[in-house]
């Protein structure tokens, strides 16, 4: 009986130790200390970009506040500031049409492209600084989902928001053309992987002016805005 009890106690202690060790191990894998120098440099660059973006946004909001104060001291309504903010957010959400410089990514032919590749490409374009994106003229918004459905002759067809995507696939993104191109075509990047692993050869071209359509307002049925 005492044997049983002591065995139980020791097992318990052992189990506890194992759990602690696992947590240390897991923590280690996610800690900065476990990352290579290259990856740390990437993270550092990324954070610098994020900081610059935040600085711009702070400046923008401060200008907005000054404007409101001026309007108020002149006894004018804030209609202008509101419409400016509304117009900017409509570009961000994909509601309104936009234009600007950027890149186009074209994938032609009977490629073995999977819908996951489109999800990856869109994600990689945002990582590279895209400000607005469309796939075959369909604007990417908050709710845009990529999928697939059965096509003719037991093939599968890639879909964007449930609508079949027809070849050639053309993804257009507005942003700094050079940064966007570099983000996609760098060594070990997404285009490199598509080339070497799947023999898919998307063509990336810098463009002076791209116009992307607006998707119109989104409507929500379940989400409520908190005051």
């Amino acid at each position: 009986m005492t044997k049983g009890l002591s065995l139980m106690a020791v097992s318990l202690a052992l189990g506890l130790l194992l759990t602690v060790q696992f947590q240390t191990q897991q923590h280690l894998a996610n800690s900065l200390e476990a990352q290579s120098t290259n990856n740390l440099v990437t993270m550092w660059q990324d954070l610098n970009e994020r900081k610059a973006q935040l600085e711009k946004e702070v400046t923008n909001l401060q200008a907005n506040l000054t404007e409101l104060d001026q309007q108020s001291s002149l006894g004018r309504s804030n209609f202008e500031t509101l419409s400016k903010n509304t117009a900017r957010l409509k570009m961000v959400t994909g509601d309104a049409p936009v234009k600007g410089p950027g890149v186009s990514v074209t994938i032609t032919g009977e490629s073995s492209l999977l819908y996951y590749d489109i999800v990856d490409l869109i994600n990689e374009l945002w990582v590279s600084g895209a400000e607005a994106i469309a796939i075959n003229g369909q604007r990417v918004t908050l709710g845009t989902a990529i999928g697939e459905q059965p096509g003719p002759n037991s093939t599968t067809v890639i879909t964007v928001d449930g609508k079949p995507l027809l070849s050639p696939y053309i993804i257009e993104a507005i942003g700094d053309p050079a940064a966007l191109e570099k983000g996609l075509t760098m060594q070990g990047g997404i285009i490199y992987n598509l080339n070497t692993l799947y023999s898919i050869y998307p063509e990336v071209h810098q463009r002076v002016l791209i116009t992307l359509p607006g998707a119109g307002p989104l409507s929500w049925r379940y989400a409520r805005v908190r005051e």
């Binding site: 194992l18 954070l47 994020r50 506040l65 950027g102 908050l142």
Partner: protein, 243 residues
Amino acid sequence: MKPTWWHISLTIMGVACGVLISWLYLTQSTLRAEESTAPNARLIALINHLEEQTQVMENRLVSLRKELEGKQQRQTGGEYRVTALEAELRMLEAQAGLREVAGPGVVITLDDNNSGALSAQQANPGFYQPDNFLIHDKNILYLVNELKRAGAEAIAVNNQRIVPSSTIRCVGTVILVNSARLAPVYEIKAVGDPEALEKAIANGEEFPYLKAKEFPVKITRVNDMLIPAYKGGFDTDHLQPAA
């Protein structure tokens, strides 16, 4: 002498102890080795500093947005076109992720397959591939896409709000969402029709795949929950309205 349950359990425990002690030793020695790499220590200090700075700026952004909102409301003055515009702006802010939203939906939790990693390491240390037991950025990216397919309206991953331009990726073994570092357990919250979302995810591709590989994954329906606001900014330097 016939081996009894006592001998067997003692043997098992002895082996387990041995494995644990050598593993502890290995962990400790990697820790020590990493501490001594000076250039990385500098980079890590830089990263930690930048993370603190961006956090301070995020909080500043949140308070500026609140101040702006308050001023806008005070200056509306009951003018009809202004009130209408304000309602539109509020909805746009919510959909851009700048406002907290509430609603029903699902919560998906994902964790690294720690017990699988342990048994794999014990069974065959030479063939142990740690990557096979970790949740990767793509698992989360594809789950978020599946949630959108099923009609999710607002999504957050470990309380990082998914906005139109959100990015989900990894650098090394660290998953970044909106450039913020995440740590397991990963929790994806999505507002939408709870039944439709649960069905789509449970019968989708990513969730069953992870389940089959014995990752601790779970999906729960929720009657009401909060999705936090996005604290970052939006790049619009190259964007112009088009007619």
